[in-house]
């Protein structure tokens, strides 16, 4: 459902952020990408939903190539949700407005339909009572859950997560991971950049290790942790696993 072919991205000629990356992510699968900072993981995510323009290669989502002229990028983006490390909730709007903005403006849903759907989603992520609050009044974990609800409101076919728990205090990581696990188990196609290996072990179908813009190792979750082949993978794992 998401297909990446020979993707390359660079800002300066001598430094490639992404170097000939290829992958296929079938529907319903959860893929976790890990790696050191600067390895290109976030850039890869941003290329998938067109936030970043790549120089070489192709990305095909549900049969539509990002490069083709017929593709309206904003329509494609509506099909893919993204959750950011720093939540990026709109501070000048209430939680409810945050969730309903895109459905109202892009899907042209009526105010009432959008709000009903939003309340359902907020209940699903566990914070229906915060609907009329402003993001500034919420904790980090709550904000991130609202961010997930905001993306889900567009009924995406796939969700991208860019280090969703890296900016959270430890006691709030669990509540966000629980939402993500629930999402994965319900069949959502997910690409998650994270260091939370517990999450990966529980729901990932495949784990990939990226370094210097390339996939170094990609394996089904079980084998990835039990017997990593590549020495760089082993070194990385030994550093982040206690």
């Amino acid at each position: 459902m998401i297909e990446i072919r020979n993707l390359s991205l660079w800002y300066r000629k001598d430094h490639k952020v992404l170097d000939d990356v290829s992958a296929r992510i079938p529907k319903g699968r959860t893929v976790v990408i890990c790696g050191p900072s600067g390895s290109g993981k976030s850039s890869l995510l941003r290329c998938i939903n067109g936030l970043e323009r790549f120089q070489e290669g192709e990305i095909i989502i549900d049969g539509q190539s990002l490069r083709s002229r017929e593709t309206h990028i904003h329509k494609l983006r509506a099909k893919i949700g993204m959750v950011f490390q720093h939540f990026e909730l709109y501070p000048h709007m209430t939680v409810l407005d945050n969730v309903t903005l895109a459905p109202r403006k892009v899907l042209n849903q009526s105010g009432r339909d959008a709000e009903n759907k939003a309340m359902q989603l907020l209940t699903r992520v566990g914070i229906p009572d915060k609907a009329s609050r402003y993001p500034g009044e919420l904790s980090g974990g709550q904000q991130q859950r609202v961010a997930i609800a905001r993306s889900l409101a567009m009924e995406p076919k796939a969700m991208l997560f860019d280090e969703p728990t890296s900016a959270l205090d430890p006691e709030m990581i669990k509540e966000v991971l629980e939402v993500m696990i629930d999402l994965a188990k319900s069949g959502m196609t997910m690409v998650v950049v994270t260091h939370e290996m517990g999450f990966a072990r529980e729901v990932a179908d495949e784990v990939a290790f990226m370094d210097h813009g390339r996939f170094v190792e990609r394996k089904p979750a079980g084998t990835f942790f039990e017997c990593p082949e590549n020495p760089r993978t082993r070194e990385f794992l030994s550093r982040i696993l206690k």
Binding site: N49, L51, R77, M82, E88, Y90, V106, A153
Partner: protein, 218 residues
């Protein structure tokens, strides 16, 4: 010192103050709208939007306002084929001129909004104008409020330049009274004091807004 001269002509001069406020209001609203477009244009990656916007802003900021007023006074009738009068061409001149200054303020304001906000909006499928209208500009305008207030005070002072094409705003009316009554000292002190009080209030408001913003950011 004959202060009676002020009292006698107060109604006439106050009428000029109304005109001054009218010009200020139009220049503010029009200049801000046009300035937002120019400011966004200067942040654009599309060459045929970026270069014209930048040239416009740099050019107008290098000009004295008096010259711009004259230029539009000559130019507008040439384009429309008939004289539109001092008031209309002054308004056009002010909007065109102040927009160049607002453009830079807007540019700073938009840049002060975190880049992730736009990314979040685009990720949900919103398009450029929706992202700007619902997400970026509301936040940017809040950040710009002190600078916008200061610029409004500047516009209020700039209206006095409409004098040169005979527009009967406040200063021109004070001047007219002076030619009749020849009491320059009293009259120009009066004019100065009116501007001083009004502009000082405006500047004080801008400073308070700046301090409130600094507090809420910390």
């Amino acid at each position: 010192m004959d202060l009676q001269v002020i009292a006698r002509n107060l109604e006439f001069m106050a009428g000029g103050l109304v005109v001054t406020f009218e010009i200020t209001a139009v220049a503010l609203a029009g200049g801000l709208l046009w300035g937002i477009l120019l400011g966004l244009g200067r942040l654009s990656r599309i060459p045929w939007v970026y270069y014209p916007a930048s040239v416009y802003v740099h050019f107008l900021r290098s000009q004295p306002l008096i010259l711009v007023i004259f230029w539009f006074y000559f130019l507008v009738p040439v384009i429309t084929g008939k004289p539109l009068g001092a008031f209309v061409s002054t308004l056009i001149a002010f909007v065109a001129f102040e927009a160049a200054y607002f453009a830079e303020i807007v540019r700073g304001g938009v840049q002060s909004v975190s880049g992730g906000q736009a990314a979040a909006g685009y990720s949900c499928g919103l398009r450029y104008h929706q992202v700007q209208l619902y997400i970026i500009l509301p936040q940017a305008l809040r950040n710009m409020l002190p600078a916008l207030t200061t610029q409004s005070v500047v516009i209020f002072q700039d209206t006095s330049l409409a004098y040169v094409i005979g527009l009967r705003e406040f200063l021109r009316r004070v001047n007219l009274v002076d030619t009749r009554e020849a009491r320059s000292i009293e009259l120009y002190l009066f004019a100065g004091m009116v501007y001083l009080v009004l502009c000082a209030l405006g500047s004080a408001a801008a400073r308070r807004l700046e301090r409130r913003r600094e507090v809420s950011l910390s």
